[in-house]
């Protein structure tokens, strides 16, 4: 357990070294936040209460999206490129000989990365958004806490999907295509483009049931106070269920892939 805590701290520190890049990212998130906020204002101007949100809730959703974009790695998040590269070159064999579990090792590092991005790239855009627009900030500290739990679950779901994507490199020489498809799916089905409540009909139902809704839609709804009591528990259960299922799938694939490494001697 201590080992993984150290790996997580390493993941945090590693991303914390890129200060200029973080500042540049904050700037970009803020610019996109403003552009999207104005398009949402135009949309809610025509249809107040669209998707069950009032205007200030919709604007809060925009800035939450910018704050969580890197945290939940909705456009992909680095570790999968690195793991694919290690699989391709055979360096992954070294990882497998470590007295640590491959999946937990990378998960710990990714949690550290997410924690840094939540602080480094989440707080400032959110604060700027709150200064420029009338946002629906939770009054109760408990809601903030509930939100953080939901974000943590979202990060685990995001990791579990990306771990599966990276393992595909054991079978495909080049992971670029699969990685791209994966972040396209994450971008579309997380609710980053538009809240999933606004997706029409069956598309909306499917989108809300897929794992990616754990990345933004569910944490945002927790933040906006949509869930309370058992509702909150069922939201958590939804996220945790996907996390468990996807992690288990990753574990299974990892076992198959490990045998493959031994067979090839790579």
């Amino acid at each position: 357990m201590r080992l993984y805590a150290i790996v997580a701290a390493g993941g945090f520190r590693r991303h914390a070294t890129y200060r200029v890049a973080t500042a540049a990212g904050v700037f970009t998130n803020t610019v996109f936040g403003f552009i999207m906020a104005y398009t949402y204002i135009a949309l809610w101007d025509e249809r107040p209460q669209l998707g069950g949100y009032d205007l200030s809730q919709a604007l809060t959703y925009v800035w939450l999206g910018q704050a969580l974009l890197m945290t939940c790695a909705m456009m992909g998040g680095g570790f999968e490129d690195e793991l694919v590269e290690r699989i391709r070159t055979g360096d992954v064999a070294v990882d497998l000989y470590r007295p640590a579990d491959l999946q937990l090792w990378w998960l710990a590092g990714d949690l550290g990365r997410a924690a840094f991005h939540l602080i480094g790239r989440g707080i400032v855009p959110m604060a700027v958004g709150a200064l420029a627009f009338d946002l629906a900030m939770p009054a109760s500290p408990l809601t903030w806490l509930a939100f953080l739990v939901s974000v943590a679950l979202g990060v685990v779901v995001s990791f579990a999907v990306r771990f599966l994507v990276a393992l595909s490199a054991f079978w495909l020489m080049d992971g670029a295509g699969v990685i791209q498809m994966a972040w396209l799916a994450a971008l579309f089905f997380s609710g980053m483009l538009l809240p999933l409540n606004l997706f029409p009909g069956v598309l909306g139902e499917v989108a809300r049931a897929l794992p990616w809704s754990s990345l933004l839609q569910v944490p945002a709804d927790v933040f906006l106070g949509t869930y309370s009591g058992t509702g909150l528990l069922s939201a958590y259960a939804f996220q945790a269920g996907w996390a468990a299922a996807l992690l288990a799938a990753g574990r299974l694939l990892q076992a198959v892939a490990t045998r493959r490494v031994v067979v090839q001697g790579g």
Partner: protein
């Protein structure tokens, strides 16, 4: 080897001719750009399946922006007073213009990384203009996906819009694509020049390139007036499509600007290119190798 020596001799020859041969230098830069691009296309085509997949991915990824617009229009009939075909016109013009700039100069944002890891030095000693080398580096033909997607939406807009076509309006459309591409291209070059000073700031460039493109996909009427003024007079992105679109679609300017501004994009594009070139030279002169 023989090739390199000829190229060096050629470059030395142009340099000896003095400053009167700016045209020759430009020709040389374009030729070098073309050669490097051809090399990358050949190497891309070695993995055709991978190319097809990433080009399709590019097409889909850029299409998401328009899917968002379509999803919005599943709830409303107009956004900021603009209809779907009108927004499609804005979207198609900026996406195509941006796609052209991205195709030609999209590798510029790697400059910061090159400075950091020292690989820029290898480009400096080659007898080929550095800008041409950086621009052509890792030329990605898959970026045609964005251009294709932009042109398709523009095609949809032109088919559904009821425009009173005059010669001026017909000419305005290709002018928007070319001048818009040049304006976005200038932003790419200026952004790269900025990275000589702030090595890790590639994302600031994205705010102006990708952010600017996203902004221009929506009508100016929905944004705060100060923001519209900023992208008209400070970073003149509005000349990519907002200003000329008001003329083509016969709409009033939200800033109350006169119609003849629609004639300005070529001038604005030329000015932007000049300023970007100046910024690039300043950055390159200030460059000190990290020495790794």
């Amino acid at each position: 080897m023989a090739d390199t020596r000829t190229a060096e001799a050629g470059a030395a020859g142009t340099r000896a001719d003095g400053p009167g041969t700016a045209g020759a230098r430009l020709g040389e830069a374009l030729r070098a750009y073309g050669l490097i691009v051809a090399m990358w296309i050949r190497s891309t085509m070695a993995y055709r399946a991978s190319f097809a997949m990433t080009a399709f991915g590019n097409f889909v990824a850029t299409g998401f922006d328009f899917v968002t617009v379509l999803l919005m229009f599943s709830h409303v009939d107009a956004l900021g007073g603009w209809s779907l075909p009108e927004i499609a016109f804005l979207y198609g013009t900026t996406s195509t213009a941006f796609g052209l700039a991205d195709l030609v100069l999209g590798s510029m944002d790697r400059l910061g990384r090159r400075v950091r890891d020292g690989t820029l030095d290898t480009l400096l000693v080659r007898p080929v203009p550095v800008l041409a080398q950086v621009a052509a580096d890792r030329f990605a033909l898959r970026r045609l996906g964005r251009v294709t997607q932009g042109l398709l939406v523009l095609g949809y807009a032109l088919l559904t819009l009821d425009i009173d076509w005059t010669a001026g309006r017909v000419a305005a459309v290709p002018m928007m694509l070319l001048c818009g591409g040049a304006i976005f291209g200038s932003v790419f070059v200026a952004g790269a020049a900025f990275q000589f000073f702030a090595l890790d700031a590639a994302e600031v460039q994205s705010a102006f390139t990708y952010g600017g493109n996203t902004l221009l996909q929506y009508p100016p009427s929905i944004f705060a007036k100060d923001l519209v003024r900023g992208v008209t007079f400070v970073v003149p992105l509005a000349f990519v499509n907002w200003v000329p679109s008001l003329y083509v679609l016969d709409r009033e300017s939200p800033l109350g600007l006169p119609d003849w501004l629609a004639l300005l994009p070529p001038l604005v594009a030329a000015l932007c290119m000049g300023l970007a070139g100046l910024a690039w030279r300043t950055g390159l002169r200030a460059y000190r190798s990290t020495g790794n």
